[in-house]
Symmetry: D2
Subunit: 436 residues, 4 copies
Amino acid sequence: MRITAVGGYEEVGRNMTAIKIGGDTIIVEMGIRLDRVMVHEDTDISKMGKSELASKGIIPDDSVVRGDVKAIILTHGHLDHIGAVTILAKKYKNAPIIGTRFTTELIKKEQNFGRLKNPVHTLDTGDILQITPEIGIEFVRMTHSIPHTAMLVVHTKEGKLVYANDFKLDDTPVIGEPPDYRRIKELGSEGIKCMIVETTRVLDGGRTPSEKIAEILVRDNLKKSDPEKGLIVTTFSSQIARIKSITEAASAIGRTPVLLGRSMEKYVGLAEKTEILNLPEDAHLYGAPDAIRKSLKTISDDGREKYLLIVTGHQGEPDALLSKISLRKLAYKIKKDDQVIFSATVIPNPINVANRYSLETKLRLQGARIFKDVHVSGHAYREDHSDLLKMLQPEKIIPCHGDLKMLTSYVELAEDHGYQFNRDIFLLRNGQSVTT
Amino acid sequence: MRITAVGGYEEVGRNMTAIKIGGDTIIVEMGIRLDRVMVHEDTDISKMGKSELASKGIIPDDSVVRGDVKAIILTHGHLDHIGAVTILAKKYKNAPIIGTRFTTELIKKEQNFGRLKNPVHTLDTGDILQITPEIGIEFVRMTHSIPHTAMLVVHTKEGKLVYANDFKLDDTPVIGEPPDYRRIKELGSEGIKCMIVETTRVLDGGRTPSEKIAEILVRDNLKKSDPEKGLIVTTFSSQIARIKSITEAASAIGRTPVLLGRSMEKYVGLAEKTEILNLPEDAHLYGAPDAIRKSLKTISDDGREKYLLIVTGHQGEPDALLSKISLRKLAYKIKKDDQVIFSATVIPNPINVANRYSLETKLRLQGARIFKDVHVSGHAYREDHSDLLKMLQPEKIIPCHGDLKMLTSYVELAEDHGYQFNRDIFLLRNGQSVTT
Amino acid sequence: MRITAVGGYEEVGRNMTAIKIGGDTIIVEMGIRLDRVMVHEDTDISKMGKSELASKGIIPDDSVVRGDVKAIILTHGHLDHIGAVTILAKKYKNAPIIGTRFTTELIKKEQNFGRLKNPVHTLDTGDILQITPEIGIEFVRMTHSIPHTAMLVVHTKEGKLVYANDFKLDDTPVIGEPPDYRRIKELGSEGIKCMIVETTRVLDGGRTPSEKIAEILVRDNLKKSDPEKGLIVTTFSSQIARIKSITEAASAIGRTPVLLGRSMEKYVGLAEKTEILNLPEDAHLYGAPDAIRKSLKTISDDGREKYLLIVTGHQGEPDALLSKISLRKLAYKIKKDDQVIFSATVIPNPINVANRYSLETKLRLQGARIFKDVHVSGHAYREDHSDLLKMLQPEKIIPCHGDLKMLTSYVELAEDHGYQFNRDIFLLRNGQSVTT
Amino acid sequence: MRITAVGGYEEVGRNMTAIKIGGDTIIVEMGIRLDRVMVHEDTDISKMGKSELASKGIIPDDSVVRGDVKAIILTHGHLDHIGAVTILAKKYKNAPIIGTRFTTELIKKEQNFGRLKNPVHTLDTGDILQITPEIGIEFVRMTHSIPHTAMLVVHTKEGKLVYANDFKLDDTPVIGEPPDYRRIKELGSEGIKCMIVETTRVLDGGRTPSEKIAEILVRDNLKKSDPEKGLIVTTFSSQIARIKSITEAASAIGRTPVLLGRSMEKYVGLAEKTEILNLPEDAHLYGAPDAIRKSLKTISDDGREKYLLIVTGHQGEPDALLSKISLRKLAYKIKKDDQVIFSATVIPNPINVANRYSLETKLRLQGARIFKDVHVSGHAYREDHSDLLKMLQPEKIIPCHGDLKMLTSYVELAEDHGYQFNRDIFLLRNGQSVTT
């Protein structure tokens, strides 16, 4: 079994791993690196070719992939895991794209736009699919910050490989069920040859708080909000559990939830269609610029105190709705003591920090009250990693989805569990391979 | 009405304020400054005289107090509010010490040791006590991180003064009831001449999470703990709500809670006596060194996996129990994968940071898994301050209990609400007075 | 004497102070706030009216100025001290603008463009000018990071006021002479009624290193540079002493210095014209886009190893030359191991941090070696402030040019010297006045 | 050639490397880890056995050393390189200890105390010594922060190994000569099989400033000092170049330099004996407690303004002289405006931070003015590392003397130079080996 680190082994972002068993290969994820897109904002990404995108570090460089690619597997729908599919998958045109339902529905949207020709298959968690006579794949139910996140198990004659990127261990996840601990422990007792594991938040001690905590924080903050003033919440559009908590809390305080923004419509619309989410009856959801403009006019005319706006723009992205509101060019203008809740952390990149700073400065100059970090992370902290490690007890470990600081922090964690660097746990750089 | 900043106006700690109406004065709080005690650890505090303690910045310098002191009022039982009573109160020997029940019971312990001669009176929240014909005091129910915390209202002919130091606005406080919002709003509508307000956490944006959140964090972490290994939680001895959450969570996972440490016995014992807390039937509580030693021996012999230890030492204090355990001189020695949960933050002082670093390093070298920050703050964050300000709408404000960075951050907050520096909101240095 | 804080008393930037003696007023500085310009980058500053610029916090709000304005005095040529002159001075059209030579030459450039009608007078350091029979002004030689910086003394019947904003105490300033300590001490012994003093770097302990140190750092780094690769230095265009050090070091290693950028031409050209700086004979200086483009083509063709480029863009400003080079749209493209030296610190604002991050990321992706912080500050550190305080011993102090954290840090410093808050040292907010 | 990482490959401190060629082994360094000593301050280090010291992480665990140890080589005299010699060397009792003069003189002091039986040989830089017919060693002149620091070259039939730990590239080192660049480049052109290189400051960008800069900073600060007040400088006792700068600056301002402290006498005394340093004629140097006490009495009686004290205690070590002065138990007590200059950085460890905080708080409470960071580092910054790499161009690299963050930062640096992780550059954990 030869594992090739294609992308995401030197950074947070552009995840891609190739696993070659005999002559056959399966690819896991095809993600982009959003912080690099931002650095090159002055150039038009959509006009760049594949090699330029790779050389700028925006997408993985898949020239290192060997073997006959039999499948492209996606474990969940975040862009750093699926964002390069439309660019990279065409090279492997016979390889089906396989994911859980929410993920494949997202991919099918791209297919509908004609950006993708590969066949797309949905695989439920709990099921095993035989890719070749030698290779079977299984999705194990896992929790993260987007619906239908799976932990991947690759079954081969040489043993099982587990791919846990991304995950948290949430026993009260608001939407969906907790991780399938029974199966995870079963896998551990059957024996795991190798685990590839994310490291994004391994530097944080202890355990990640449950999404349930975020639900309470949202509810408590909304309950305490000033009922006579405007109220805006911004969060990740794909964080459907959070959207649920916010819309329910809106109803509890007698405000009509209005969800606005292009990606809000994309993800929340899909969540409704797939029956993951049932928005309250009175909720509104608009993604098209005209519909948004009209809705904001209505809200502004009718009385902003009757509504709760759920909008895009939590990172201060200049083209997202909250930034546009801060420019005062829409009907809904911030008034003194309007409340803006960031149900998100700043993703720690200087450009996000600057965008958020600009946005918050403008909002404050216009009189807004700002509430930050009404949020919990979707990634495992250090001791969640310990728990997974103890359940699975893999023979070998390859940490991924982090910079060297994160990857090596995982090495130290594994050492505490008796693993030895360069014998049981390996650091790969993008482009490197290891045979186990 | 002349307000004199005696202590706590340049620092976090040693709170003391004198309020003079006509010729009569009431003193609010007599606290010590723990970080200064630590700086001078090489000297014996108990042997220092009052003036040396004041010159070293450990206690307030009360030489600036004017007028006939009619009462010493304590709003809650933390040492930075009551720790200097035994040193300073004797000068005002006729002045009664007045507090809510939990606070006066703490004071009475000192009285029993003969360290204090002043009369001690208990005043319930909701009641008003007439100190002189001109001065009435009222305790309003407030939430913080110790039972029976009160917001003080001083009623005078010249108007009402509110003293809100310390507080948080917790609607689900685990023990006791939420703040008396009805009375607070009533006071606001009656008109407040002046508010003295703490600023310890005003630099934190948004609102402080409820103690309910800490309860869930504690429960979730305990549920996920390894049932075969040792389990130790350390927290503030006077944080009775937290103690309740921890002991209940212990029972839920089938472990016997054992509370150990001198101050643990002092505060928890008092909480039981005053019926604020009912420990589970199987719980144990020991404060004397011999009893602790014996209990640790029993636990160690009987099987550590049956017990949950709740111990002193969350700041890494060298003489607290957790530090002693880390020295391996007691029967209970840390074993590989024993779990230590810090249900506390590090109070941000270099000496605490170093003590915690030493403690954690030792625990880790012995194989412990460490879980930090399973905690929420007991102090109002920025937007809680906004909420209180909107409810009370005082004419004048004097921020206290903070360094200049905190105090001035409150000034900026008040400016957002229309207050003007040096006209409506004043900065005092220790020793300075303002007449309103 | 009535001192009004117009701008710069809540922030670093947009300095402006009004001093009213009897019915006459002198204004000191008319600066802009560059970080606020950046926050509103999406709007066109040049099209905003005065009141919008003030409400967005970009320029001072001069509606609080009282009295008959007799003069506008500028102590040095930085934009946060003179950048709003073209917007604000017209209201006081009879008031002459007074500064030292380098400053008035900068102002005259604006005059030539017709943006300014006020008369402009140059006053040398050491001289006293009688503005009215009651008001004399004197410039005392001071060191900072732009030529001809002066400390202002206002002579009145009521006593002397000193205005020290900005300054450092540099005994080996590379260009020009050290501060006029003799006169400063003399003023101290004559008695100073009030001092207005900057606080930008008072949070830094100790004393600011001399510009001489920067000269050696520049020289040592250039000596060690790879002679076969490209070499670019970026620094503040108005930091003429630094420019001198860099060009001389270029000559010492046999490279031709080429200074490029619009503001580089403006400030360096003026420094040459005023004979403050004599560039080496072989140096080139270009500011016009075409000339720059042509020069870069020549350098690229002729061999980049023969040249040292001195360019604008040390803060990563998107429209400055270094950012443009990083976009690879000019003839000079970064090659592997080209060297880029930042002879500047990042001005600590999230937008600068992000711009520098973007710039450095691009440069690194193109193979550049980056050398940062080859720099010393132009502002007094804490103990320089102590030294000035001891020399001048003013009766009253008003700290300025800082946020509350900086201003209050100065208060604490002054307290160490026996000053008392609210009695001898005062905090003003923009718009507030104090009478002394 | 088999390289075994014994100590210093997971931390800053306890350096030790074994190099086995055929059946013969040479050991390089035997250091201790001072931060671990501090963590266990409550236990008596001198009474611990070797294995306890190793298990607590204080000394390297040399049980992994294989082969017949033929020599113990020390590259310079810092404790993290030689501090465990008295504990570890006895196991290899026939192996001579080899170092440059200043280092072997330090070792001979231990020999005189009977703590060491191994033979001690001095080898000058520039010379090659044949340890066995197969192994020759050479010391190349290098700069660091202690006299006679060498870069080690091991000559074998299989090729040359370079050991550069610690170093900076200082062309104006105040004492001694710059690195032997001629020989370094010659080695590079001859071909280097493997380089072991320190990484302590590789996270800092650019190049380390020269010790010459520290000399100027010291001189400028002393020139500006208040001649009527006390003046104390504290620095590293083994930093002889700094001591030279300080004592010369003392003379220049007419103060008598008095060097005080046990380790001050040890290192400075040795520097005088070995003619590395000639103290000014009027200088005093005392190490014995009684002599120090007497000297402080004399200074205090005679007038502190006549003296400059150079003392131990720059990290706030509780038992060093400066801490003792701060306790006011010696004749020399801090008076208002006495000046204390820290010609050192705080070594970034929470215990040092706390010790310094305690010390500075006490000094400030007593009225001292404090000047910090009058200092430059003795370790190579990132671009110095680039320079050495370009000169030596080793085939393989093993970074050492750092935590994983530092080591991996060096990996990234080497990648910029074309090295590939796991092929050309290797991370070892303590106890691991690599064969090249």
